[in-house]
């Protein structure tokens, strides 16, 4: 059987340097410093209703950095045949995702503000919103 070419998937929890002084705290994101791309888009998710999950998609190519700048949220990821859950609960914890990572955002705290920095403008063609399609593209048996 011909093996389908696997698409890229990378995830990495990044510890961001907090700069503290007698005034308070500051965290900086800059290409080369702690993010491996130029930011083309930045968005915030907040006021998420209790018990609700968001996401349920993967990206074909785009790179993103997720940071919970207030409150906390769990990022449930599936990539490279593994499932992992990352708790983002501090502004100095960034989750870098590239490409084919199926992810959901769950258990938002009521005060959660989740920031996403992305390397490209919005493009619906980059989204995979169907889990079966994600599994087929990542050459993985759908375990359902």
């Amino acid at each position: 059987m011909e093996e389908a070419k696997k698409m890229v998937a990378k995830l990495e929890l990044v510890s961001l340097k907090e700069m503290g002084d007698d005034r308070g705290w500051l965290v900086v994101f800059e290409k080369g410093l702690n993010i491996p791309f130029d930011v083309k888009r930045c968005f915030f998710i907040y006021g998420t209703k209790e018990g609700l999950a968001r996401g349920f998609h993967a990206h074909k190519k785009s790179k993103q950095m997720l940071v919970s700048v207030s409150g906390s949220v769990e990022i449930h990821c599936e990539a490279n045949g593994k499932k992992e859950v990352y708790l983002l609960d501090a502004p100095n914890k960034g989750l870098f995702l590239e490409g084919m990572v199926w992810h959901t955002m769950e258990n938002f705290s009521s005060d959660c503000v989740l920031m996403v920095l992305a390397d490209d403008y919005y493009n619906e063609d980059d989204y995979i919103r169907n889990y079966d399609e994600f599994c087929a593209l990542t050459n993985k048996e759908n375990a359902k």
Copy 2:
């Protein structure tokens, strides 16, 4: 008397479109959509101690968008011979600043997370941190 060349100063309160649905809210920042520059740097100010003010500088050239993504903060601005105070208290309120705006950030709420998107990497040469120098450069008599 020779008139000194005035340097650029622009400020504008921008109403950002909130995209709400039955899950919660989302605000997007994208060049062309609601910010007039590519983002080279993004930083967050949080955990600011009560009663403390930050800022006390102007930029020679750089462009910034300030948004309080959690809590509230006042941005005290002086530019073009006028003083104005902007209250940032919602993720859909952005304050765009360009160039020679002397500004301080005051009355941070304890839960305030102030995001700043900037059009350039950090460059100390772009900062004016001395108020008298700011006044001289903006061709204004220092009223002190």
